[in-house]
Amino acid sequence: MLKIKNLHVSVEDQEILKGLDLEIGPGELHAVMGPNGSGKSTLGYTLAGREDYEITSGSIEFDGEDLGEMEPDERAAAGLFLAFQYPVEIPGVNNAYFLRAALNAQRKARGESEVDGVEFLKMVRESLKGLDMDESLLKRAVNEGFSGGEKKRNEITQMAVLQPRLAILDETDSGLDIDALKLVAEGINRLRDGQRSFLVITHYQRLLDYLSPDHVHVLSDGQIVESGGPELAHRLEEQGYAHLERASA
């Protein structure tokens, strides 16, 4: 589904990703861990198409298409979703209206019929189940005045409604208490259907305890330096990242 080969990415002329290789197959859940500044969020933003994240060399293929040539909204319509580490507040834009507009924009781009208000409400209510999220948040402006946990749950709600084929979760666990973390993990697990793929970016192993990743990768200084199974996350939890920093020094 996703093939990243020798990816080099610069932000404001500073190279952040320095030859990253990664392949994610259908239905797989990959976790990317690594210390601060290793390039984890840069990877997420690059995949989603953020401006100023310049691919200087290498390639990203998503279902055989060159992702680098696609606009952010085209990537979304193709089935890519980024749950932001810091979801943006958009004053004045109704949360439900925004989500429905996004859903219909994607459907339109794919040549599918638009979803009417009644059908949309049904979809949202279904998506809210289990997230312990107050429906009234849908009537408020996007993320405005939401707590940290509510913002993260709103991201998961969006993901559930938009039904992406590949979801990138950028430190979705940061700022969540134990109960909220569990709810968010359950929300992610409900979307695992053997076809949908996930790239989970995290610092900690605790989210992965709930998600059972197929593969765990360690990102350090812009490259994946180690890959393994869930046991790798446990080892990193015990040992930390200091040995990686020593190695790169």
């Binding site: 989603a48 198409g49 953020r50 401006e51 606009e71 952010p72 909204d73 990537r75 979304a76 319509a77 979703f81 980024l82 932001f84 979801p87 943006v88 958009i90 004053p91 004045g92 834009v93 925004f98 989500l99 507009a101 996004a102 859903l103 924009a105 994607q106 781009a109 402006a141 969006q158 938009l162």
Partner: protein, 405 residues
């Protein structure tokens, strides 16, 4: 005499009627003070070159068929100023509405010097010198009034409509003022609104101007336990200037101003607002937003003035502005002038651009760049219009906003 004065003050325009003495005062003051230039603080950012370069005609003021009127979202009594002339039969108004010529003696006794000041009030003096008719509308009971001001393509005159709206004690008025123009003239309007004890006024002012020059002055007096709320939705014009002054005359008076200006191209929009707390135990609030695209220029001067001994007055002024292009400009000046100690008054002003992070967030969810920009602008702009309390007018204004964006 300046070219502008020569154009706008031909002596032949003097009308011999009951208002002659009032017009004479207006003309004298205008001759005395002259028209503002960029050394005049209140007109510093609004040059009058556009007007100076035009030769407006003084006759005829009516241009055949009146301009077509749009459909409004509410039913109400229509006061239609077509090319500055009120097209209305006073005898056909709903019960509780009385339209009559203003009392000439009352006009003569008004202290217009205190109201209009010097050169900065030149267009108010011009209105006083040049109005055709001065109207007086009295409102009792509960009413919706639609006050439309229009011109047609052939319009190249200068007109000076004048009306005083007196909302009697306990009355409720919804005033939808809708202005649009065609042609290349000057509309210089003067509107006074008096909100008597216990009365309530919701005033929605929608302007969509083009090549004509529009100058409007609105003076509002709010009395005991009365409420006045205005929402202005201005979609710009070649050159427009609004002076809105709200005076809280007696204790427990309450006033609110919400404003939205959406401008583009080479439009120039200037709003000067003033909230005057003449006495204590009065409350006011103002929030004003501008979106400036193209090479447009916006001016917002918001002033809160609290008199001595006006204790227990509360006022808040906030303005937020969005520049949508590198060439657009907005000039913002919030002012507090407070002479009483036991008050709360605050102001805030921001000028910014659309947030790249928000734009990316929306696009990452599937919205195109154009859709995302429109939604971001709408999100910023809708808030003042959400303050409209009549749902049908609010929805109508929000639809117009969507079209404008």
């Amino acid at each position: 005499m300046s070219a502008l004065a020569q154009t706008l003050m031909p002596e032949a325009q003097a009308c011999a009627d009951d208002y002659e003495a009032t017009r004479k005062v207006g003309l004298q003051r205008l001759m005395q003070h002259g028209f503002p230039d960029q050394k005049t603080e209140a007109w510093k950012y609004t040059p009058l070159r556009v007007l100076e370069q035009r030769e407006t005609q003084t006759e005829p003021r009516t241009m055949g068929e009146p301009a077509a009127l749009p459909a409004w979202p509410v039913a109400g009594t229509l006061l239609h100023f077509d090319h500055g002339i009120l097209q209305c039969d006073p005898g056909e108004l709903a019960e509780g509405l009385t339209l009559m010529p203003a009392d000439p003696k009352a006009l003569e006794q008004r202290d217009f010097d205190a109201l209009y000041g010097g050169r900065e009030g030149a267009f108010s003096w011009l209105n006083l010198a040049r109005f055709d008719h001065a109207w007086h509308l009295q409102v009792s009971g509960e009413h919706t009034v639609i006050m439309a001001t229009t011109t047609t393509d052939a319009f190249s005159a200068d007109v000076h409509p004048r009306i005083r709206i007196e909302v009697l004690p306990g009355a409720r008025l919804t005033l939808l003022q809708d202005q649009t123009d065609a042609g290349q003239g000057l509309v210089n309007m003067n509107c006074e609104i008096d909100v008597a004890e216990g009365a309530q006024v919701e005033h929605v002012l929608c302007c969509k101007n083009h090549e004509s020059v529009w100058v409007q002055r609105t003076d509002v007096d709010i009395h005991k336990a009365a409420e006045y709320r205005v929402v202005a939705f201005d979609r710009g014009g070649r050159l427009t200037r609004h002076d809105l002054t709200m005076r809280l005359r007696e204790g427990t008076a309450h006033g609110e101003i919400d404003g939205l200006v959406v401008m583009d191209g080479h439009q120039h929009v200037d709003w000067h607002t003033e909230i005057v707390h003449c006495t204590g135990h009065t409350n006011s609030r103002e929030a004003f937003r501008m979106l400036a695209g193209g090479t447009s220029v916006g001016v917002f001067n918001g002033r809160i003035h609290i008199f001595p001994d006006a204790d227990d007055s509360h006022s808040d002024l906030n303005t937020a502005n969005l520049l949508l292009s590198d060439q657009a400009r907005v000039n913002i000046k919030p002012e507090l002038e407070i002479y009483s100690e036991e008050v709360t008054a605050s102001h805030g002003a921001t000028i910014g651009q659309l947030d790249d992070r928000s734009l990316f967030y929306m696009r990452s969810r599937g919205l195109s760049e154009a859709e995302s920009l429109a939604l971001l602008k709408y999100g910023f702009a809708a808030e003042p219009l959400m303050q409209i309390q009549t749902p049908a007018i609010r929805d109508w204004a929000l639809e117009q906003l969507k079209e404008a964006l």
